[in-house]
Symmetry: C2
Subunit: 482 residues, 2 copies
């Protein structure tokens, strides 16, 4: 059964040749996910799920540090609740799944498999909120949601996906707005600081905002093919849901007031983004902060005296401080192992063989740059720590540089179309604020307004709209999107 003469078969399509196929290959071969025998659903395999657990930990820690608690609300929602908020219902109705029978019986009222939980959660909030002293309510839920999508791809768009949805209630518009932006910033931290994925921040145009929201704030990341991925959203729901679901409270003056609510979410879609930002032709590349395994130790010439012992010693000195694995399988050659752990994207490989032991050193090999570095054995854990932080920063910087290099300023629609035809860039350009004009741009180029950046990032590129030539209201980012 020895594999030392077997060739490692990677079977990954080149990223430049066929980006979509490359993506699917990486998802499957790195065992991030698999197709399920249920239309449009996926299995999140242990290696992919471990990434989700890391993202979850990083997000949950920040949610709790800002006063949020977790809870669980039912997955099945009676039809009449969803219909209460008409805009919201219209937004989701075409893609909801319906439970109609329990055992052999037809149900008295059909149940919706939750596409999102505003309706059921706000129903409870109207019961729980009595006075201003009950506010704010800051609850989050980790769960799965369902959208009966026609075209699906693992992580990016699936019928069922895992997410968290935060739902909060506040006394004032200002409190709700502050919360909306606070969570938006927490998402930025998780995505940029932990996943090493740079994002463009801003507000959605009216046509792209969440059904039932007053304002939706987004984080848009650029994939390796240049397309945008909406990576998280935070919604100021104004009083829309509070009015429909009667969330009223006695205010500080003793008067009855209507509350203000928010909701916000990130999902397993982030893992799709992680792959499409960092992955390469050898497979996955994991940023150290969310890597299921941060360090893989591969002993060279395992049969030579002292190698196994030294490798084990290394492992023991790193384990606990890092997530580390020792690959001391005898049926695979070191080369085979290198390939396998590269495919999995483990950020740092440590090689140790008889020569290294002699010189009291180990070899670091970085997954992101393939760089090989000889490192003295002293204070190894500190050096590993430093190296992982360097990899984390470099991966972020490389992705950021790529995004910047693929972002262009356009002043007129010819330039716009030319740039868009030449690839999938992010285009910074002016917009009149008119929905029809936005729709025309989409029709002609398939690019959409990804976001209206915050005021401090607005640039006055021109005074008129890049498409219609009417007076411009904002600078926006245009891009094709997943």
């Amino acid at each position: 059964m020895a594999k030392d003469k077997e060739k490692f078969v990677r079977e990954i399509t080149s990223r430049d040749d066929d980006f979509a196929q490359w993506y699917t290959d990486v998802v499957l071969k790195a065992e991030m996910a698999d197709y399920a025998p249920v239309r449009g659903c996926m299995i999140i395999r242990p290696y992919g799920f471990a990434v989700w657990e890391r993202i979850k930990e990083e997000a949950d820690r920040r949610f709790k540090a800002t006063g949020h608690t977790n809870a669980y609300f039912p997955m099945l929602i009676p039809e009449h609740l969803l219909q209460k908020e008409v805009d919201h219902f219209d937004g989701f109705a075409p893609e909801v799944l319906w439970v109609t029978h329990g055992g052999d019986e037809e149900l008295a009222e059909r149940l919706i498999v939750r596409p999102t939980s505003e309706t059921i959660i706000n129903t409870m909030y109207s019961k729980w909120v009595q006075t201003y002293r009950d506010l704010p309510i800051l609850i989050n839920q980790w769960c799965s949601v369902f959208r009966w999508e026609k075209t699906t791809r693992p992580f990016l768009r699936t019928v069922e996906f895992l997410w968290q949805e935060g739902h909060t209630v506040h006394e004032t518009y200002e409190d709700a707005q502050e919360e909306t932006l606070r969570m938006h910033e927490i998402y930025r931290q998780v995505i940029e600081d932990e996943m090493a994925v740079p994002v463009i921040l801003g507000k959605k145009s009216d046509s792209e905002r969440f059904a039932g929201a007053d304002a939706t704030y987004t984080l848009e990341a650029m994939m390796h093919d240049g397309k945008a991925l909406q990576s998280g959203t935070s919604h100021n729901l104004g009083q829309n849901f509070a009015k429909m679901f009667d969330i009223q409270f006695q205010d500080r003056e003793g008067k009855l007031a209507t509350a203000w609510t928010t909701s916000w979410g990130i999902s397993t879609r982030l893992i799709g983004g992680l792959i499409m930002v960092h992955g390469d032709d050898r497979g996955m590349v994991m940023p150290p902060h969310v890597a299921p395994t941060q360090v893989i130790i591969v002993p060279i010439a395992l049969h030579k005296e002292g190698v196994q012992e030294k490798a084990q010693e290394l492992y023991d000195s790193l384990n606990g401080r890092f997530t580390v694995k020792l690959d001391d399988r005898t049926e695979y050659s070191p080369g085979w192992k290198f390939n396998q752990w590269e495919l999995k994207g483990v950020p740092l490989r440590i090689e140790i063989g008889p020569k290294d032991i002699e010189k009291n050193q180990v070899v670091f090999v970085r997954r992101d740059t393939n760089e090989k570095i000889f490192v003295p054995m002293e204070n190894l854990a500190d050096q590993v720590d430093e190296m992982l932080e360097t990899i984390q920063k470099d991966m972020f910087q490389a992705a950021k540089k790529r995004m910047e290099e693929n972002t262009f300023t356009v002043k007129n629609f010819d330039e716009f179309k030319e740039r868009m035809a030449a690839g999938n860039p992010f285009l910074k350009g002016m917009w009149c604020g008119d929905e029809e004009c936005e729709a025309e741009i989409k029709d002609e180029t398939t690019a959409t307004i990804r976001c209206i950046p915050f005021d401090d990032k607005q640039e006055e590129i021109d005074t008129v709209c890049v498409h219609c030539g009417k007076p411009a209201k904002h600078m926006v980012y245009y891009a094709k999107a997943y």
Copy 2:
């Protein structure tokens, strides 16, 4: 709005007067859960969910330490998959929920909302398992499952509940059996050592075992009313699912072999057990290891100079090492706060007032015994730690003593019926091993065989069955159950 003259309204029915109503009162008033506007479903509120998070952490940590990883499988299962294993399907069919429509379309094949995931997971395992080198597969999933139950009660029996389900594949029967018992032991640790709930361990009789299993091992806890609660189960599934789902592998001799599988689960039902074992007429009583808040600091005479500062100092010295809250609200009196935190079951209350500051002491008040202890301020954190461990142990011992005092040995059926009529005891008695005899006992007394204890706990009470008088096969525990 000052509450200092308001009476704290507890509104909890006496446990001895009406156990069922007492339970519901505690669930609702302690804000563990609330009824949902969906038949048979509940909302797990933040305080109840925090207990689940603690249980989850304790279980998950042990799963991972024994080599298991988490994954996620779809919640919707195509009808034909569930029908593959006939025994299994028959067991669940009457209570499954059916998804029949997506948007306006009727689905080509109906989908089941998972009641448990053996069928979908084993379908994937048959694809993933090729050789003995792929084994064992040790995967766990945290998710929610659905049973269209007629009669429901928060935590104990709900249409949707949260659980974990482990699903493993092994080379041999012995490996599967070892795994089944390993997880059974981990459940014992979580339930006894963390939740302070003593359990009787053993195997289920054939009529009570999981649909499709060769053997089901259970953990049975005694509630305060004497009834049993099945608190976790671990199943050796033999080759039943492996055969139906074609989980075959090349064995060490190069021959094609059929695998052996297990599954095991605990659920939010455990929280119902926690309430019914430890709760009292003042509300919830949390064992320190799973308490969302372990220590509540209540300052006395907050308006007096130095009290707020000293209370804050205490908080700072304990926070991080324990989950601690400082209740420095000015609109509630100390007495009101005592009542509220007692209702919530916080294991340790620390009071600090001007007199205590003078004497350089604090007051500990134990939730479980109501005991008041004056404690010098030196090394307070260590003393808190010790006190919490004492409470944890004492709670377990108190519950164990109660269980033992309410467990009786019976030698004949008159004694059996007499004991059962006088309360809800656990009865140790002999059994012939016959299913019909078991069914008759149930018909006549509503008591069932909770488990057949392991060999080392078997006692030869008699040589004949307590009911039919035929030769006895085992000593078993009989009880009425939730």
